[in-house]
Symmetry: C2
Subunit: 279 residues, 2 copies
Protein backbone atom coordinates (compact mmCIF):
# COMPACT_ATOMS: atom_id res chain seq x y z
CA UNK A 1 0.00 0.00 0.00
CA UNK A 2 2.68 2.50 0.98
CA UNK A 3 4.44 1.73 -2.31
CA UNK A 4 1.83 3.68 -4.16
CA UNK A 5 3.41 6.77 -2.59
CA UNK A 6 6.25 6.19 -5.03
CA UNK A 7 3.82 6.66 -7.92
CA UNK A 8 3.50 10.08 -9.47
CA UNK A 9 2.79 12.66 -6.79
CA UNK A 10 1.04 15.81 -7.93
CA UNK A 11 1.12 19.13 -6.16
CA UNK A 12 -1.34 19.67 -3.34
CA UNK A 13 -1.86 19.00 0.34
CA UNK A 14 -1.26 15.87 2.35
CA UNK A 15 -4.69 14.44 3.11
CA UNK A 16 -5.21 12.57 6.37
CA UNK A 17 -8.37 11.01 7.72
CA UNK A 18 -9.42 9.11 10.80
CA UNK A 19 -12.60 8.04 12.57
CA UNK A 20 -12.08 10.87 15.04
CA UNK A 21 -9.17 12.60 16.72
CA UNK A 22 -6.65 9.74 16.91
CA UNK A 23 -5.21 10.54 13.48
CA UNK A 24 -4.06 13.88 14.85
CA UNK A 25 -1.11 12.00 16.41
CA UNK A 26 -0.08 11.37 12.79
CA UNK A 27 -0.60 15.05 11.92
CA UNK A 28 1.64 15.95 14.86
CA UNK A 29 4.45 13.85 13.37
CA UNK A 30 3.86 15.20 9.85
CA UNK A 31 4.18 18.77 11.11
CA UNK A 32 7.35 17.92 13.03
CA UNK A 33 8.94 16.29 9.97
CA UNK A 34 7.55 18.60 7.27
CA UNK A 35 6.65 22.03 8.68
CA UNK A 36 6.03 23.47 5.19
CA UNK A 37 3.45 20.95 3.97
CA UNK A 38 -0.21 21.82 3.63
CA UNK A 39 -2.41 19.32 5.47
CA UNK A 40 -6.11 18.58 5.16
CA UNK A 41 -7.47 16.43 7.99
CA UNK A 42 -10.89 14.82 8.33
CA UNK A 43 -12.12 13.33 11.62
CA UNK A 44 -15.53 11.61 11.44
CA UNK A 45 -16.41 12.68 14.97
CA UNK A 46 -20.16 12.22 14.40
CA UNK A 47 -19.61 8.46 14.07
CA UNK A 48 -16.44 7.77 16.06
CA UNK A 49 -15.40 5.13 17.13
CA UNK A 50 -15.02 2.81 14.13
CA UNK A 51 -13.00 0.14 15.93
CA UNK A 52 -15.93 -1.53 17.68
CA UNK A 53 -18.03 -1.82 14.50
CA UNK A 54 -18.33 -4.47 11.80
CA UNK A 55 -16.13 -4.56 8.70
CA UNK A 56 -19.04 -3.75 6.38
CA UNK A 57 -19.96 -0.64 8.36
CA UNK A 58 -16.33 0.50 8.60
CA UNK A 59 -15.91 0.10 4.81
CA UNK A 60 -19.08 2.10 4.16
CA UNK A 61 -17.93 4.95 6.40
CA UNK A 62 -14.42 4.88 4.91
CA UNK A 63 -15.78 5.25 1.37
CA UNK A 64 -17.63 8.38 2.46
CA UNK A 65 -14.46 9.75 4.10
CA UNK A 66 -12.50 9.14 0.89
CA UNK A 67 -15.24 10.76 -1.22
CA UNK A 68 -14.85 13.89 0.92
CA UNK A 69 -11.08 13.89 0.38
CA UNK A 70 -11.55 13.50 -3.38
CA UNK A 71 -13.12 16.95 -3.46
CA UNK A 72 -9.90 18.47 -2.14
CA UNK A 73 -6.58 18.85 -3.86
CA UNK A 74 -4.55 16.18 -2.06
CA UNK A 75 -1.30 14.84 -3.45
CA UNK A 76 -1.48 11.76 -1.29
CA UNK A 77 -3.92 10.40 1.27
CA UNK A 78 -2.99 8.86 4.60
CA UNK A 79 -5.53 6.58 6.23
CA UNK A 80 -4.48 7.52 9.75
CA UNK A 81 -6.94 5.12 11.30
CA UNK A 82 -5.73 1.65 12.21
CA UNK A 83 -9.25 0.28 11.90
CA UNK A 84 -9.88 1.56 8.36
CA UNK A 85 -6.35 0.51 7.36
CA UNK A 86 -7.16 -3.01 8.55
CA UNK A 87 -10.15 -3.33 6.20
CA UNK A 88 -8.27 -1.92 3.17
CA UNK A 89 -6.72 -5.28 2.37
CA UNK A 90 -10.05 -7.05 1.97
CA UNK A 91 -12.40 -4.21 1.00
CA UNK A 92 -11.65 -2.20 -2.16
CA UNK A 93 -12.47 1.15 -0.56
CA UNK A 94 -10.38 3.14 -3.06
CA UNK A 95 -11.94 1.48 -6.11
CA UNK A 96 -13.53 3.97 -8.49
CA UNK A 97 -12.01 6.99 -6.75
CA UNK A 98 -9.51 9.39 -8.31
CA UNK A 99 -7.05 8.95 -5.43
CA UNK A 100 -4.16 6.85 -6.61
CA UNK A 101 -1.54 7.69 -4.03
CA UNK A 102 -2.40 6.59 -0.49
CA UNK A 103 -1.23 4.59 2.50
CA UNK A 104 -2.67 2.96 5.56
CA UNK A 105 -0.76 2.50 8.80
CA UNK A 106 -0.53 -1.32 8.85
CA UNK A 107 2.36 -1.95 6.43
CA UNK A 108 4.57 0.88 7.73
CA UNK A 109 4.11 -0.41 11.29
CA UNK A 110 4.58 -4.06 10.30
CA UNK A 111 7.78 -3.14 8.39
CA UNK A 112 9.19 -1.21 11.35
CA UNK A 113 8.37 -4.01 13.79
CA UNK A 114 10.00 -6.67 11.59
CA UNK A 115 13.11 -4.52 11.51
CA UNK A 116 13.10 -3.89 15.26
CA UNK A 117 12.52 -7.37 16.67
CA UNK A 118 15.52 -9.43 17.79
CA UNK A 119 13.75 -12.38 19.43
CA UNK A 120 11.12 -12.72 16.66
CA UNK A 121 8.21 -12.06 18.99
CA UNK A 122 6.02 -9.09 18.12
CA UNK A 123 3.01 -7.93 20.11
CA UNK A 124 0.14 -6.02 18.50
CA UNK A 125 -2.50 -3.98 20.29
CA UNK A 126 -5.36 -2.38 18.38
CA UNK A 127 -9.13 -1.98 18.24
CA UNK A 128 -11.38 -5.08 18.18
CA UNK A 129 -12.03 -4.64 14.42
CA UNK A 130 -8.32 -4.42 13.60
CA UNK A 131 -7.46 -7.47 15.69
CA UNK A 132 -10.36 -9.48 14.23
CA UNK A 133 -9.08 -8.71 10.71
CA UNK A 134 -5.76 -10.46 11.41
CA UNK A 135 -4.03 -7.91 9.17
CA UNK A 136 -0.88 -7.53 11.27
CA UNK A 137 -0.26 -11.29 11.48
CA UNK A 138 -0.82 -11.47 7.73
CA UNK A 139 1.54 -8.61 6.83
CA UNK A 140 4.28 -9.64 9.23
CA UNK A 141 4.20 -13.33 8.31
CA UNK A 142 3.99 -12.58 4.60
CA UNK A 143 7.50 -11.14 4.75
CA UNK A 144 8.78 -12.97 7.83
CA UNK A 145 7.08 -16.34 8.47
CA UNK A 146 9.63 -16.97 11.24
CA UNK A 147 8.15 -14.25 13.48
CA UNK A 148 5.46 -15.02 16.07
CA UNK A 149 2.73 -12.41 16.46
CA UNK A 150 0.68 -12.00 19.66
CA UNK A 151 -2.40 -9.78 19.41
CA UNK A 152 -4.75 -8.16 21.88
CA UNK A 153 -7.86 -6.05 21.27
CA UNK A 154 -8.09 -3.00 23.56
CA UNK A 155 -11.65 -1.63 23.29
CA UNK A 156 -11.39 0.77 26.24
CA UNK A 157 -8.22 2.65 25.24
CA UNK A 158 -9.95 4.91 22.69
CA UNK A 159 -12.58 6.29 25.09
CA UNK A 160 -9.94 6.64 27.83
CA UNK A 161 -7.69 8.64 25.45
CA UNK A 162 -10.54 10.84 24.29
CA UNK A 163 -11.33 11.70 27.89
CA UNK A 164 -7.79 12.39 29.01
CA UNK A 165 -7.07 9.29 31.12
CA UNK A 166 -3.64 8.52 29.67
CA UNK A 167 -0.89 9.77 31.97
CA UNK A 168 1.42 7.73 34.20
CA UNK A 169 -0.12 7.48 37.66
CA UNK A 170 -3.66 7.59 36.25
CA UNK A 171 -5.38 4.54 37.75
CA UNK A 172 -7.64 3.47 34.87
CA UNK A 173 -4.85 4.02 32.30
CA UNK A 174 -2.55 1.79 34.33
CA UNK A 175 -5.29 -0.78 34.95
CA UNK A 176 -6.17 -1.18 31.28
CA UNK A 177 -2.56 -1.13 30.07
CA UNK A 178 -1.87 -3.95 32.57
CA UNK A 179 -5.09 -5.76 31.58
CA UNK A 180 -4.37 -5.65 27.85
CA UNK A 181 -0.57 -5.92 27.77
CA UNK A 182 -0.02 -8.61 30.44
CA UNK A 183 -0.56 -11.55 28.04
CA UNK A 184 1.87 -10.00 25.52
CA UNK A 185 4.47 -9.33 28.23
CA UNK A 186 4.11 -12.93 29.44
CA UNK A 187 4.87 -14.13 25.90
CA UNK A 188 8.12 -12.16 26.03
CA UNK A 189 7.58 -9.90 23.01
CA UNK A 190 10.50 -7.50 22.44
CA UNK A 191 8.52 -5.24 20.07
CA UNK A 192 5.03 -3.81 20.50
CA UNK A 193 3.00 -2.25 17.70
CA UNK A 194 0.62 0.44 18.94
CA UNK A 195 -1.81 -0.31 16.11
CA UNK A 196 -4.35 2.42 16.72
CA UNK A 197 -3.51 6.09 16.24
CA UNK A 198 -4.93 6.94 19.67
CA UNK A 199 -2.40 4.81 21.50
CA UNK A 200 0.70 7.06 21.38
CA UNK A 201 -0.97 9.00 24.19
CA UNK A 202 -0.38 5.94 26.43
CA UNK A 203 3.27 5.61 25.38
CA UNK A 204 4.71 6.50 28.78
CA UNK A 205 2.42 4.13 30.68
CA UNK A 206 3.08 1.33 28.19
CA UNK A 207 6.84 1.87 28.23
CA UNK A 208 6.86 1.74 32.02
CA UNK A 209 4.78 -1.46 32.06
CA UNK A 210 6.64 -3.31 29.29
CA UNK A 211 10.11 -2.32 30.49
CA UNK A 212 13.13 -0.82 28.73
CA UNK A 213 13.93 -3.86 26.58
CA UNK A 214 10.73 -3.57 24.53
CA UNK A 215 10.59 -1.34 21.42
CA UNK A 216 7.29 0.51 20.98
CA UNK A 217 6.24 1.17 17.40
CA UNK A 218 3.79 4.01 16.84
CA UNK A 219 1.75 3.33 13.69
CA UNK A 220 1.22 7.11 13.34
CA UNK A 221 4.91 7.89 13.72
CA UNK A 222 6.27 5.37 11.24
CA UNK A 223 3.60 6.24 8.66
CA UNK A 224 4.52 9.93 8.89
CA UNK A 225 8.20 8.99 8.55
CA UNK A 226 7.56 6.83 5.46
CA UNK A 227 5.55 9.66 3.93
CA UNK A 228 8.42 12.06 4.52
CA UNK A 229 10.91 9.62 2.97
CA UNK A 230 8.70 9.13 -0.10
CA UNK A 231 8.11 12.84 -0.67
CA UNK A 232 11.80 13.60 -0.20
CA UNK A 233 12.84 10.83 -2.61
CA UNK A 234 10.46 12.23 -5.23
CA UNK A 235 11.55 15.83 -4.54
CA UNK A 236 7.85 16.51 -3.91
CA UNK A 237 8.28 18.40 -0.64
CA UNK A 238 7.10 21.99 -0.49
CA UNK A 239 9.97 24.54 -0.38
CA UNK A 240 11.06 26.05 2.94
CA UNK A 241 9.60 29.36 1.77
CA UNK A 242 6.09 27.88 1.65
CA UNK A 243 3.85 28.81 4.55
CA UNK A 244 1.93 25.69 5.48
CA UNK A 245 -1.87 25.80 5.58
CA UNK A 246 -3.51 23.34 7.92
CA UNK A 247 -7.23 22.67 7.62
CA UNK A 248 -9.07 20.37 10.00
CA UNK A 249 -12.57 19.11 9.30
CA UNK A 250 -14.88 17.23 11.65
CA UNK A 251 -18.38 15.85 11.15
CA UNK A 252 -19.72 16.77 14.58
CA UNK A 253 -19.49 20.20 16.22
CA UNK A 254 -16.26 22.20 15.97
CA UNK A 255 -16.46 23.13 19.63
CA UNK A 256 -16.43 19.51 20.84
CA UNK A 257 -13.60 18.69 18.40
CA UNK A 258 -11.42 21.62 19.50
CA UNK A 259 -11.22 20.32 23.05
CA UNK A 260 -9.27 17.31 21.80
CA UNK A 261 -7.06 18.93 19.15
CA UNK A 262 -4.50 20.38 21.55
CA UNK A 263 -4.31 17.11 23.49
CA UNK A 264 -3.65 14.99 20.40
CA UNK A 265 -1.41 17.37 18.46
CA UNK A 266 0.54 18.05 21.64
CA UNK A 267 0.18 21.83 21.65
CA UNK A 268 -1.43 24.74 19.83
CA UNK A 269 -1.23 24.78 16.05
CA UNK A 270 -2.17 27.46 13.55
CA UNK A 271 -5.11 25.92 11.72
CA UNK A 272 -8.67 26.37 10.49
CA UNK A 273 -11.34 24.05 11.87
CA UNK A 274 -14.68 23.53 10.10
CA UNK A 275 -17.62 21.16 10.33
CA UNK A 276 -18.50 19.18 7.20
CA UNK A 277 -21.13 16.68 6.11
CA UNK A 278 -20.32 13.35 4.48
CA UNK A 279 -23.71 12.33 3.14
Amino acid sequence: MIDTLYGSISDGAIGVFDSGVGGLTCVKELIRLMPNEDIIYLGDTARVPYGTRSRATIARYARQDIAFMEKHNVKLLLVACGTVSSVMASEPIFEGTNITCYSGVIIPAADAACEATRNKKIGVIATPATIRSGCYEYEINRQRPDISVYSKACPLLVPLAENGYTAPGCQPAEFFVREYLSPLKEQGVDTLIMGCTHYPLFEDVMREFMGEGVTLISSSGVTAQQTYDALKAQKALKPASHKAKIELFCTDSVQLFKENVTRFVGGDIDCEISQCSLS
Copy 2:
Protein backbone atom coordinates in the same frame (compact mmCIF):
# COMPACT_ATOMS: atom_id res chain seq x y z
CA MET B 1 -44.13 14.02 27.42
CA ILE B 2 -45.30 10.90 29.23
CA ASP B 3 -48.78 12.42 29.32
CA THR B 4 -49.19 11.73 25.66
CA LEU B 5 -49.38 8.08 26.63
CA TYR B 6 -52.83 8.92 27.92
CA GLY B 7 -53.88 9.89 24.39
CA SER B 8 -55.60 7.32 22.27
CA ILE B 9 -53.53 4.16 22.11
CA SER B 10 -54.07 1.97 19.09
CA ASP B 11 -53.30 -1.70 18.86
CA GLY B 12 -49.74 -2.69 18.05
CA ALA B 13 -46.37 -3.21 19.62
CA ILE B 14 -44.48 -1.12 22.13
CA GLY B 15 -41.70 0.60 20.18
CA VAL B 16 -38.42 1.30 21.96
CA PHE B 17 -35.28 2.87 20.58
CA ASP B 18 -31.84 3.78 21.85
CA SER B 19 -28.43 4.75 20.47
CA GLY B 20 -27.27 1.20 21.12
CA VAL B 21 -27.83 -1.50 23.69
CA GLY B 22 -28.56 0.61 26.80
CA GLY B 23 -32.28 0.77 26.04
CA LEU B 24 -32.44 -2.99 26.51
CA THR B 25 -32.47 -2.34 30.28
CA CYS B 26 -35.85 -0.73 29.60
CA VAL B 27 -36.95 -3.72 27.50
CA LYS B 28 -35.99 -5.97 30.41
CA GLU B 29 -38.36 -4.05 32.70
CA LEU B 30 -41.13 -3.98 30.08
CA ILE B 31 -40.96 -7.78 29.72
CA ARG B 32 -40.98 -8.23 33.48
CA LEU B 33 -44.05 -5.98 33.90
CA MET B 34 -45.89 -6.95 30.68
CA PRO B 35 -44.89 -10.41 29.46
CA ASN B 36 -47.64 -10.45 26.81
CA GLU B 37 -46.74 -7.24 25.01
CA ASP B 38 -45.14 -7.23 21.57
CA ILE B 39 -41.96 -5.14 21.52
CA ILE B 40 -40.01 -3.66 18.61
CA TYR B 41 -36.58 -2.39 19.60
CA LEU B 42 -34.09 -0.39 17.54
CA GLY B 43 -30.47 0.12 18.63
CA ASP B 44 -28.40 2.38 16.36
CA THR B 45 -25.24 0.36 16.98
CA ALA B 46 -23.54 1.67 13.82
CA ARG B 47 -23.41 5.15 15.39
CA VAL B 48 -23.44 4.53 19.14
CA PRO B 49 -22.64 6.41 21.39
CA TYR B 50 -24.85 9.49 21.05
CA GLY B 51 -24.02 10.98 24.45
CA THR B 52 -20.67 12.45 23.48
CA ARG B 53 -22.01 14.20 20.35
CA SER B 54 -23.54 17.61 19.72
CA ARG B 55 -27.25 18.35 20.06
CA ALA B 56 -27.68 18.92 16.31
CA THR B 57 -26.14 15.56 15.46
CA ILE B 58 -28.17 13.75 18.12
CA ALA B 59 -31.40 15.32 16.80
CA ARG B 60 -30.54 14.28 13.23
CA TYR B 61 -29.90 10.69 14.27
CA ALA B 62 -33.04 10.61 16.42
CA ARG B 63 -35.23 11.72 13.50
CA GLN B 64 -33.91 8.80 11.47
CA ASP B 65 -34.58 6.40 14.35
CA ILE B 66 -38.16 7.68 14.61
CA ALA B 67 -38.65 7.42 10.82
CA PHE B 68 -37.73 3.74 11.10
CA MET B 69 -40.24 3.22 13.89
CA GLU B 70 -42.97 4.94 11.85
CA LYS B 71 -42.81 2.08 9.37
CA HIS B 72 -43.81 -0.37 12.08
CA ASN B 73 -47.11 -0.78 13.84
CA VAL B 74 -46.27 0.71 17.25
CA LYS B 75 -48.97 1.79 19.67
CA LEU B 76 -46.53 3.95 21.60
CA LEU B 77 -42.87 4.79 21.31
CA LEU B 78 -40.40 4.92 24.18
CA VAL B 79 -37.24 6.94 23.68
CA ALA B 80 -35.15 4.67 25.90
CA CYS B 81 -32.07 6.83 25.46
CA GLY B 82 -31.35 9.49 28.05
CA THR B 83 -29.40 11.52 25.52
CA VAL B 84 -32.17 11.65 22.88
CA SER B 85 -34.73 12.30 25.62
CA SER B 86 -32.66 15.30 26.72
CA VAL B 87 -32.85 16.97 23.29
CA MET B 88 -36.62 16.32 22.88
CA ALA B 89 -37.50 19.41 24.90
CA SER B 90 -35.64 21.80 22.61
CA GLU B 91 -35.65 19.95 19.27
CA PRO B 92 -39.01 19.03 17.68
CA ILE B 93 -37.87 15.54 16.65
CA PHE B 94 -41.42 14.17 16.47
CA GLU B 95 -42.73 17.01 14.32
CA GLY B 96 -44.22 15.82 11.05
CA THR B 97 -44.22 12.16 12.10
CA ASN B 98 -47.32 10.01 12.56
CA ILE B 99 -46.29 8.98 16.06
CA THR B 100 -48.47 10.76 18.56
CA CYS B 101 -47.96 8.64 21.62
CA TYR B 102 -44.43 8.63 23.00
CA SER B 103 -42.30 9.23 26.05
CA GLY B 104 -38.70 9.97 26.89
CA VAL B 105 -37.05 8.94 30.15
CA ILE B 106 -36.42 12.40 31.66
CA ILE B 107 -39.86 13.25 33.06
CA PRO B 108 -40.57 9.78 34.51
CA ALA B 109 -37.18 9.85 36.27
CA ALA B 110 -37.57 13.46 37.42
CA ASP B 111 -41.06 12.66 38.79
CA ALA B 112 -39.82 9.61 40.67
CA ALA B 113 -36.86 11.53 42.14
CA CYS B 114 -39.06 14.41 43.33
CA GLU B 115 -41.27 11.87 45.08
CA ALA B 116 -38.32 10.04 46.64
CA THR B 117 -36.21 12.86 48.04
CA ARG B 118 -36.59 13.82 51.68
CA ASN B 119 -33.73 16.31 52.04
CA LYS B 120 -34.46 18.05 48.70
CA LYS B 121 -31.07 17.21 47.24
CA ILE B 122 -31.11 15.17 44.03
CA GLY B 123 -28.03 13.97 42.16
CA VAL B 124 -28.10 13.30 38.41
CA ILE B 125 -25.56 11.31 36.43
CA ALA B 126 -25.81 11.02 32.66
CA THR B 127 -23.91 11.41 29.39
CA PRO B 128 -22.12 14.71 28.61
CA ALA B 129 -24.88 15.71 26.14
CA THR B 130 -27.67 15.09 28.67
CA ILE B 131 -25.87 17.02 31.41
CA ARG B 132 -25.07 19.93 29.04
CA SER B 133 -28.78 20.16 28.14
CA GLY B 134 -29.74 20.91 31.75
CA CYS B 135 -32.98 19.00 31.20
CA TYR B 136 -33.11 17.35 34.64
CA GLU B 137 -32.58 20.63 36.53
CA TYR B 138 -35.29 22.15 34.33
CA GLU B 139 -37.84 19.39 34.85
CA ILE B 140 -37.23 19.01 38.56
CA ASN B 141 -37.26 22.73 39.32
CA ARG B 142 -40.30 23.33 37.10
CA GLN B 143 -42.39 21.30 39.53
CA ARG B 144 -40.27 21.71 42.67
CA PRO B 145 -38.17 24.89 42.75
CA ASP B 146 -37.23 24.09 46.35
CA ILE B 147 -35.10 21.11 45.30
CA SER B 148 -31.36 21.43 44.61
CA VAL B 149 -30.01 19.39 41.70
CA TYR B 150 -26.36 18.33 41.43
CA SER B 151 -25.26 16.94 38.07
CA LYS B 152 -22.24 15.06 36.79
CA ALA B 153 -21.40 13.88 33.27
CA CYS B 154 -19.98 10.34 33.13
CA PRO B 155 -18.48 9.82 29.65
CA LEU B 156 -16.68 6.56 30.47
CA LEU B 157 -19.60 4.59 31.91
CA VAL B 158 -21.13 3.69 28.53
CA PRO B 159 -17.97 2.09 27.07
CA LEU B 160 -17.30 0.35 30.40
CA ALA B 161 -20.84 -1.10 30.40
CA GLU B 162 -20.61 -2.21 26.79
CA ASN B 163 -17.41 -4.08 27.59
CA GLY B 164 -18.61 -5.76 30.75
CA TYR B 165 -16.73 -3.75 33.41
CA THR B 166 -19.66 -3.19 35.73
CA ALA B 167 -19.57 -5.63 38.66
CA PRO B 168 -18.67 -4.95 42.28
CA GLY B 169 -14.96 -5.61 42.77
CA CYS B 170 -14.14 -4.56 39.19
CA GLN B 171 -11.41 -1.93 39.57
CA PRO B 172 -12.28 0.45 36.71
CA ALA B 173 -16.01 0.30 37.55
CA GLU B 174 -15.24 1.23 41.15
CA PHE B 175 -12.72 3.89 40.10
CA PHE B 176 -15.14 5.68 37.77
CA VAL B 177 -18.13 5.36 40.09
CA ARG B 178 -15.98 6.98 42.81
CA GLU B 179 -14.63 9.59 40.35
CA TYR B 180 -18.08 10.62 39.11
CA LEU B 181 -20.23 10.19 42.23
CA SER B 182 -17.87 11.66 44.87
CA PRO B 183 -18.96 15.29 44.29
CA LEU B 184 -22.63 14.26 44.53
CA LYS B 185 -22.02 12.24 47.69
CA GLU B 186 -20.17 15.22 49.20
CA GLN B 187 -23.23 17.39 48.53
CA GLY B 188 -25.29 14.93 50.55
CA VAL B 189 -27.85 13.97 47.91
CA ASP B 190 -30.39 11.41 49.19
CA THR B 191 -31.62 10.49 45.68
CA LEU B 192 -29.61 9.67 42.59
CA ILE B 193 -31.04 9.57 39.07
CA MET B 194 -29.22 7.11 36.80
CA GLY B 195 -30.02 9.23 33.76
CA CYS B 196 -28.61 6.98 31.05
CA THR B 197 -30.15 3.60 30.26
CA HIS B 198 -26.73 1.92 30.44
CA TYR B 199 -26.28 2.78 34.11
CA PRO B 200 -28.51 0.17 35.79
CA LEU B 201 -25.66 -2.26 35.12
CA PHE B 202 -23.61 -0.32 37.71
CA GLU B 203 -26.43 -0.33 40.27
CA ASP B 204 -24.65 -2.59 42.76
CA VAL B 205 -21.39 -0.62 42.63
CA MET B 206 -23.25 2.68 42.92
CA ARG B 207 -25.42 1.46 45.80
CA GLU B 208 -22.34 0.30 47.67
CA PHE B 209 -20.55 3.62 47.10
CA MET B 210 -23.48 5.93 47.91
CA GLY B 211 -24.64 3.96 50.95
CA GLU B 212 -28.01 2.61 52.05
CA GLY B 213 -29.63 5.99 52.71
CA VAL B 214 -29.57 7.02 49.04
CA THR B 215 -32.41 6.05 46.67
CA LEU B 216 -31.28 5.11 43.19
CA ILE B 217 -33.73 5.92 40.39
CA SER B 218 -33.35 3.95 37.16
CA SER B 219 -34.63 6.03 34.25
CA SER B 220 -35.33 2.77 32.36
CA GLY B 221 -37.20 1.23 35.26
CA VAL B 222 -39.50 4.14 36.04
CA THR B 223 -40.28 4.71 32.35
CA ALA B 224 -41.29 1.07 31.95
CA GLN B 225 -43.43 1.37 35.08
CA GLN B 226 -45.18 4.53 33.82
CA THR B 227 -45.82 2.80 30.50
CA TYR B 228 -47.40 -0.14 32.29
CA ASP B 229 -49.57 2.17 34.39
CA ALA B 230 -50.74 4.06 31.30
CA LEU B 231 -51.57 0.93 29.30
CA LYS B 232 -53.36 -0.58 32.24
CA ALA B 233 -55.39 2.58 32.88
CA GLN B 234 -56.46 2.62 29.23
CA LYS B 235 -57.16 -1.12 29.22
CA ALA B 236 -54.73 -1.29 26.29
CA LEU B 237 -52.69 -4.22 27.57
CA LYS B 238 -52.55 -7.38 25.48
CA PRO B 239 -54.55 -10.28 26.98
CA ALA B 240 -52.76 -13.01 28.96
CA SER B 241 -53.51 -15.39 26.08
CA HIS B 242 -51.36 -13.33 23.69
CA LYS B 243 -47.94 -14.76 22.95
CA ALA B 244 -45.55 -11.82 22.88
CA LYS B 245 -43.38 -11.26 19.83
CA ILE B 246 -40.11 -9.48 20.44
CA GLU B 247 -38.17 -8.06 17.50
CA LEU B 248 -34.80 -6.41 17.93
CA PHE B 249 -33.18 -4.35 15.18
CA CYS B 250 -29.64 -2.98 15.07
CA THR B 251 -27.84 -0.88 12.46
CA ASP B 252 -24.48 -2.66 12.70
CA SER B 253 -23.91 -6.42 12.53
CA VAL B 254 -26.29 -8.77 14.34
CA GLN B 255 -23.38 -10.84 15.61
CA LEU B 256 -21.76 -7.92 17.46
CA PHE B 257 -25.16 -6.88 18.84
CA LYS B 258 -26.04 -10.34 20.14
CA GLU B 259 -23.02 -10.39 22.44
CA ASN B 260 -24.55 -7.55 24.44
CA VAL B 261 -28.22 -8.55 24.41
CA THR B 262 -27.97 -11.18 27.14
CA ARG B 263 -25.89 -8.85 29.34
CA PHE B 264 -28.36 -5.98 29.11
CA VAL B 265 -31.63 -7.93 29.20
CA GLY B 266 -30.25 -10.01 32.05
CA GLY B 267 -30.77 -13.44 30.48
CA ASP B 268 -31.88 -15.19 27.33
CA ILE B 269 -35.06 -13.98 25.66
CA ASP B 270 -37.07 -15.43 22.83
CA CYS B 271 -36.62 -12.84 20.07
CA GLU B 272 -35.74 -12.18 16.45
CA ILE B 273 -32.69 -10.01 15.74
CA SER B 274 -32.18 -8.31 12.36
CA GLN B 275 -29.93 -5.65 10.90
CA CYS B 276 -31.60 -2.60 9.36
CA SER B 277 -30.55 0.56 7.54
CA LEU B 278 -31.68 4.05 8.56
CA SER B 279 -30.68 6.07 5.51
